[in-house]
Amino acid sequence: MAEKSGSALVIGAGISGLRSAIDLAETGYHVFLVDKAPHIGGILEQLDHQFPTNRCGMCKLLPAVEPDQASQQCLRRGLFHGNIEILASAEVMDISGEAGNFCATLHQHPTLVDPNRCMGCGQCAEACPVEVKDTFNAGLSTRKAIYQPAPQALPGTHVIDLSACTHCGECVSVCPTGAIRMAAADRKKFKILVADEASSVREQLQTLMAGEGFLVDTAESGEAALEKLKSEAFHLVLLDIKMPDMEGVDVLKEALAVQPSLQVVMTTACAAVQSAVESIKAGAADYLVKPFSEDFLLPQIYRFYEESGKGRQRELSVGAVIIATGCRYFNPAEGKDIFGYGLYPDVVTHLAFERLISGTGPFGGRLVRPSDRRPVNKIAWIQCVGSRDLQTDSDFCSSICCMSAVKEAMLAREIGGGQVETVIFHMDLRVFEKPFQQYLDDAKRSGVRFQRCRVHSVACSEDGARLAIRYVDMDGAREALFDLVVLSVGQRPAEDAEKFSEMLGLELNPWGYLAPRPFSLTETSAPGVFLGGAVSGLTDINDAVIRAGAAACGASKAIHKSGGSLETVESADDGRDRDINREEPNILVILCVCGDRLKALIDMDVLLDRIQTEPAVSQCLEVDGLCSPDGWAKMLEELKDKPVNRILLATCAANAYAHRRLEIADAAGLPEAAVQIKDVFPSDWFAGGAPAKEQTPYNTGYVERCLKLAIAGLKGIHWGPAEKIPVYQSALIIGGGIAGMTAALAIAGHGFRVDLVEKAEQLGGNLNWLGRTIDGADVAERLQTTVSRVNDNSLIHVHLNSTVADIRGSVGRFQSTIGEGKNAQTGHHGAVLLATGGVEGATESYGYGKSPAVMTQKAFETARSEGRIDPAALSSVAMIQCVDCREPPRNYCSRVCCLSSLKHAMYLKEQNPDLSVYILYRDMMTPGFYETYYTQARRKGIIFFPYTPEAKPEVVVPGQNGDGASRLRIRANDPIIGQSVEIEADLLILATGITPVLPGDLMSKLRAEVDEHGFFKEADFKWRPVESLAAGVFACGLALSPRLIDESMASAEAAAMRAVRMINRQYLTAGRKIAVVRHSLCSGCQLCISACPYGAREIDPEFGRIEVNPLKCQGCGACAAICPNSATVLAEGSETEMFEMIDAAMGPV
């Protein structure tokens, strides 16, 4: 019997990986989160702003219900969740087994720095003599070989870049905590064989490596090398590709036969791609070109030496695997058309631009040119660099670059105070998500200029000071000068895609991306293995988060199916629940003295005397060396059995300890909030020796003030026991379309009851009239299998011809009335999912309704599938996109219509190649790999006319104007030839888009918001895309926004995952940092009810008083700020606490 396990492996800790990991961890699984990089966050670690908010918001991924599960701090700084084990700098080497029982082999890359000891002081980086380009800042600045991978990460653990480190040992000698290991003694055990015909090379390498302490042997021929390998074990062989007696590759093969674990590096004086490929295929570890310089070779040797260390391999037993390794970006220097990238320093990629304007970037957030640091006045963005370009084998769109360019242009204008001129050179503007069109309109209003064309070239201006862009507008070729040019580089598949494809037998699409199965964005051909985020094509955050949720749902179902437990082990430690609210403050102050360094600066006796006079302080404890594991352990030992109820820890670098608060709290048997950590050391403590006293007013008084401030804060905390609310362990899904059914199957797949309410007489929604997708997948067949799976599932109760008449309650406890009259039933559910779908938009434009020859896309699809369209009888068909869409009042893109038109056009053209098809469009929305259908459509001879909302096409219906014409006539303007064009058509198909049918009354009963267009309003479009701010209410499919079938299904699975997380336990534990109402002070004015963004407050009709729902409350404090009587109090941050802290900070010393 195979052993089941309740844990999952998430590969890649970018946004998608984090979302999947947090979803699974919240649900109760143990998650291994692996990333090759030394930090989590992926590319988001480098981006400070995201469209369409121009803010960050990554922390919104953290649990909102039961928030105390994870450390609630900026996610870009780090993630601390009890169920997530983060394995950074690690690589998955192999995965074997089956769904429910995988075994993954991990290789941990050495960083040579002990993360338990490293304090992030940065002295090592200062001492390091090796300087390399900083990849984090996209090469705009340099860093040392020992460095902090992400500037904002906490604790700022440093790592060593082994490909650059020369092992000089400078850092080891300056590290105050002895965190860096570079033991020379072990090098003697590392045996290297140099096999080379030339004695000079052998001698040079031997001297060089032996000088570093390695054990080196040599061989002058292939035979001699093999002899030596047979007689003794070596770790590394440097083998020349041409040996006197035999081919190097043959020696390599034989050597590996003798010692399979041997690392062989091929060396050659004349590099050739073929021999390199051949040797790597034969099993060589690397391929190096002679002659070697010392600086080049030694880091390579050290890399092999460090990687060979014991304990690097680790095996994990997991139930499911999520691959979320993201994708790479196109390198413009690779292609022939390089726009001067790499030649002119002021031509940068959009990633470099993000770093350039970042506060933690190379120029501190100032908008200056990389070449001469002079202010930038004019910036150009060039779109589609390495995307939508058949010459670089990229017949795909990269989906996000249009919006990121718009965002960057807006930010540039903001930073430059509106003085910076910004131009975006684009083809189509892909604004295919719900809020993007409005964002684009905002950008146009704010003065960002858009030029529709592809840029031909970037060259240096004649005076050499600026960059000249050659492009074309309607008047012909032009040239314009810019200070900075940003290339919106496109996507390329992840480095690991091929590796995982081979390892797990996964399919790759024609461009080398891991491809999901039809009708899914996350499922693969290997059961139990799922794709998350951008690994199957670049996505924005919204999409990545949805896909991550869907992947987590798939993984969770796989683990559950194989018997993996959903239960979490409740913590036995009751200290965390101890109620210190009513206890008299009794504070223990712990002061780290850092050897004699603190005593040299302040008068310790005076300080301790003064602190002890504070009545709340019962004891002061001097400790030393908290940054060392020994010092930390000693301090924890001292905490045992201390009769205190609050602890203040005064150290240096308080941030480095923030995530260890819980350790202290557990040791003292206290809740986490009762522990505060305060930085009382000079800010430049680590900058080398004694602090500069004249710069920082650092003296005994300063430390005392710091401590008193913290003591005042500690005295005022309110920290009651967490409330536990019982949960109805079932879900209500409203809407039986594909999204509703998918969500129902996902929740029922976890063993929970689902009530699926559909107002029509059959399930299926819009899928009932859709024939095929543009990919050629059979929609009807999919619908049939889904419906029968729903009907066969005993946990899913389908209510046809029904609506939800009434609903009340909140997260965990919803009570609803399903159906009306005699058949009405009462439902009890822990979560509600709205999958109410959408319908085709109505229109009266372009002669619709005046002639049967003018029809909507849905009408055409229906007529086609019913055989009422005969393509052979038609000679000309026109289509108009964005009918009443992408302009007020329906100012959003409906996403599906461009693809539908392409699908219909290609169908017509296939059936009758003589038929002319004309598509009148504003921007063709074919994001991602759908771009290839756009190319195909053009290749088939379909003619496209762009139009603008200012100059829309005109349609003359036969019989109109009394001219007796028998066909439709459409007049449009062709901007390229600058002439008006008349199209005679037998048929005109209008793309009228999608409008939602969300039931407004239910939404207000659920206290969930509806957006201006009638779609479900997400808690946050990017970060919490399937849920409402009102906890426990979710949405999926068209109710959220227009989307394709597979996207609807992914959103359904993501929403199901969030819902399962709510109902999988019998109780939900409320957060403790929430607001409470003091009813004796409350006047019942109800200002707080409307102020609460989470709908957490309501008036209790029985007692007429304000009640706070502890599960919904996020402790934001909006209520406390608006309350005129101070009747609302926050658990951390009450008025008393704040005033006492201000007094302490301002008071006499």
């Binding site: 064309c453 053009r938 008006s980």
Partner: protein
């Protein structure tokens, strides 16, 4: 069915698609991005841009295409072909237009076609170029006395520098090229 308002077609006996069909096939993936125009070093001399030319080809506007000298001014530098994001054979398309222009004896392309024709004719007879004969044939074909006058100053300069000779070339070609030309003609007809 499509028409640019108010422009009759120039070759009513032949449908535009048949004439431009092979070209449309080559160009239909065009996205009108304008990289070709921005690449073109002769674009400022053309009466309209290459981008517009390709658009007209796709729309079957034969008359406007052959009334222009855009394709005639292509110097076959291949810059546009190199840069086209769709990888379209734009220079080939220009050549095809030139061939069509010559075949149809389009007014706009007539001087070019006759110039090239006279040149090749001379080469065919002598195996090498005889400048005087070449220009004489060209002037006769053009039937315009203004043209020889225009070329006179250039001719005098070349004569002075002994770049050309007024004496007719009587030498028989060592390797007659006539067969070669016949073969090419045959191949062209097969196409």
């Amino acid at each position: 069915m499509l028409s640019a308002t108010g422009s009759p077609t120039v070759y009513p006996e032949e449908k535009a698609e048949d004439l431009l069909g092979p070209l449309q096939e080559k160009l239909c993936a065009c996205i009108q991005c304008g990289t070709c125009t921005a690449s073109c070093r002769n674009a400022h001399l053309m009466d309209f841009t290459p981008r517009r030319l390709w658009r007209l080809v796709l729309m079957g506007q034969t008359e406007e295409i052959f009334h222009s000298k855009t394709f005639a001014l292509c110097s076959a530098c291949y810059y546009c072909t190199l840069r086209c994001p769709r990888g379209l054979p734009l220079t080939d398309a220009m050549n095809l237009l030139k061939q069509l222009g010559a075949k149809k004896d389009v007014a706009g392309y007539r001087p070019n076609a006759r110039f090239y024709g006279s040149f090749l004719d001379s080469v065919r007879r002598h195996g090498r170029i005889n400048e005087v004969e070449f220009m004489r044939r060209y002037f006769i074909l053009m039937k315009n006395p203004a043209i020889p006058i225009k070329f006179t100053p250039l001719g005098i300069r070349l004569l002075r520098k002994k770049k050309i000779s007024m004496l007719p070339n009587k030498r028989k070609p060592e390797y007659p090229l006539d067969q070669f030309f016949q073969r090419v003609e045959k191949l062209e007809n097969q196409q």
